[in-house]
């Protein structure tokens, strides 16, 4: 299988402080990858960069996808949970690619919305206002909307944080279904056990790429330790760009070593 999404020496900064530092590698089409790493490792930043919400300070992101090929579930989404909208209408927003801003939802969209709600275990909730849902139920609604989006690449940013075990299990089932359908799924995860059990590939991030490849190899004790050390060390001198930072790693593509320069000079 081929590279669907290539990171070429990608560096993203906030106020010149690197949050993602010289990361190179690629996501294969149809791969199921977890992005793991300590707090402040740049996991969410990388997701935002892939979605085009943050512009790289250096390096590039290469793909031949359009915006509607992506489905994105941000962490702590900026959603107004008290908005008077029903579960069904929320899920139907996922049909945006077909309906756009103005076209009406047809019978096809309604049928698919019903199927999506059934798939996430919320059949019969169509008319309920979203304000009456629990956090877990609401996350199910957002997954149903993603189902409707029918995206080639699905980005999930900590989708199971503060979600009950039962819901997590069901939603992991949906992730597995996407993987089975040949979609590319990239998820930021906290729970290392979840990563080991459900995700064949892992990108271990601590501002720079510690390791990227098959989960069993990446999640070794020494690499995890290194990730934690890197994250702590970098908090002090995060403004400085270190020469060895751009070296490529197992699983990463062999891109030429980046030139050494300060971030966003």
């Amino acid at each position: 299988m081929s590279a669907l999404l290539t990171l070429d020496n990608l560096t993203v900064t906030y106020d010149r402080h690197p949050a993602v530092h010289h990361v190179s590698g690629f996501f294969r089409a149809g791969s199921l990858t977890a992005i793991a790493g300590p707090n402040g490792a740049g996991k969410s930043t990388l997701m935002k960069a892939i979605m085009g919400e943050l512009r790289p300070a250096e390096g590039r992101l290469q793909h031949r996808l359009t915006r509607s090929d992506f489905g994105y579930l941000p962490q702590a989404a900026d959603i107004n949970r008290r908005f008077p909208i029903s579960v069904l209408d929320t899920v139907l927003l996922g049909a945006w690619r077909h309906t756009g801003a103005f076209k009406a939802n047809g019978a096809r969209e309604s049928r698919r919305a019903d199927e999506a709600l059934a798939a996430v275990g919320l059949g019969g909730f169509e008319r309920r206002p979203i304000g009456s849902l629990s956090a877990g139920q609401f996350q199910r609604v957002l997954f149903a909307r993603l189902l409707l989006q029918d995206a080639k690449v699905i980005l999930l940013d900590e989708p199971f944080t503060a979600i009950d075990a039962r819901t997590t299990e069901d939603l992991l089932g949906i992730v597995a279904r996407w993987h089975g359908e040949g979609r590319t799924v990239i998820a930021v995860l906290h729970d290392l056990e979840q990563v080991r059990t459900h995700f064949p590939e892992t990108l271990l991030l601590a501002r720079e790429c510690i390791a990227w490849g098959p989960t069993a190899e990446v999640m070794s004790a020494d690499k995890l330790l290194k990730a934690r050390m890197m994250a702590e060390r970098w908090d002090d001198g995060a403004g400085v760009c270190e020469p060895q930072a751009g070296s490529t790693l197992p699983g990463a593509s062999r891109s030429p070593k980046p030139s050494i320069s300060g971030p966003a000079a």
Binding site: S68, P74, P84, W96, A101
Partner: protein, 290 residues
């Protein structure tokens, strides 16, 4: 006094009362739904700020036209309101100031400038009219302007309904699907300013948002769905307009404030007796039937 004398005669007898009533009903239809969206976007106070921002433009229009010409003041107000909205948007995007902070700064400057301009030339009576409106002095052309603004508002809302809802509810999603959220946000702000200009003529700059925010708050206390909320807001605004005009006629009160007070009374009633109100909290219905 018969019911006819009480409820209908004022409008049958006097043209200015009829025009005021039609103006109120138009304002209610447009401002009600707009107010609901403003409130759901947590921009209630920003709407208030915006109404003050309209003042200097209206004042300049007043100076240029030389009299209380509603059209000239309306155009001036539209330009001033939009400039403040856009400028504060730019400031909040390019500095550390949040949008509400930059809005507050701009509207204060705007209000001060407006009062200065009016006091430069006009009398205190003029200033009072600018600040509190002259709903009983609305003439044919002004009525046409208000009706036109209402029609444009309802039509635009109907067309951009889905993206507007998406932008209010989940702006991140709209961004992710490439839905051009800022365009709809700007369009919505334009509608807000347009409705401000319309109600500015009737209720003055200090209470122009009265028929926008109070009915919206009332609607949110009673309704659960967005469509019901918008319908209810429009209805509450219309009732306030009618009852306010009747009351101001019989009790010889100033019309604008009476209309807003009527809305405020309905609001107070709703706070007490709506499903989420105080009464239900003090006397909860038993969990078990019977």
């Amino acid at each position: 006094m018969s019911a006819y004398d009480l409820l209908i005669a004022p409008f049958a007898d006097y043209g200015f009362m009829r025009r005021a009533l039609v103006a109120c009903l138009c304002l209610a239809l447009g401002s009600g739904p707009i107010g609901v969206f403003l409130m759901l976007r947590r921009m209630s106070l920003m709407g208030d700020a915006m109404s003050h921002a309209v003042l200097p433009g209206a004042a300049i229009g007043y100076l240029v036209a030389g009299s209380l010409s509603l059209t000239a003041m309306g155009i001036g107000g539209l330009i001033a309101g939009l400039s403040v909205a856009l400028l504060s948007g730019v400031v909040s995007r390019s500095t550390v100031l949040q949008e509400d902070a930059s809005f507050a700064s701009f509207y204060l400057a705007s209000l001060a400038l407006g009062v200065l301009i009016v006091s430069l030339r006009g009398s205190n009576i003029d200033l009072l009219h600018v600040l509190f409106g002259t709903i009983l002095a609305i003439d044919g052309p002004a009525l046409a302007l208000i009706g036109g603004i209402t029609s444009v508002t309802l039509l635009t809302l109907a067309i951009v309904y889905r993206p507007l809802v998406a932008e209010c509810f989940d702006p991140g999603f709209l961004r992710a699907v490439g839905g051009r959220g800022p365009v709809y946000h700007a369009l919505f702000l334009l509608l807000v300013v347009l409705n401000m200009v319309a109600s500015f003529q009737a209720l003055g700059t200090l209470m122009a948002v009265g028929l926008m925010m109070l009915p919206a708050a009332i609607a949110q206390l009673w309704a659960r769905s967005l469509t019901a909320m918008m319908a209810l807001a429009a209805a509450a605004a219309a009732v306030s307009g009618y009852v306010g005009l009747i009351a101001s006629y019989h009790l010889e009160l100033a019309s604008g404030p009476t209309i807003i007070m009527t809305a405020a009374v309905i609001y107070g009633f709703s706070i007490l007796f709506s499903p989420s109100g105080f009464a239900r909290r003090l006397f909860p219905r038993p969990h078990l039937a019977g």
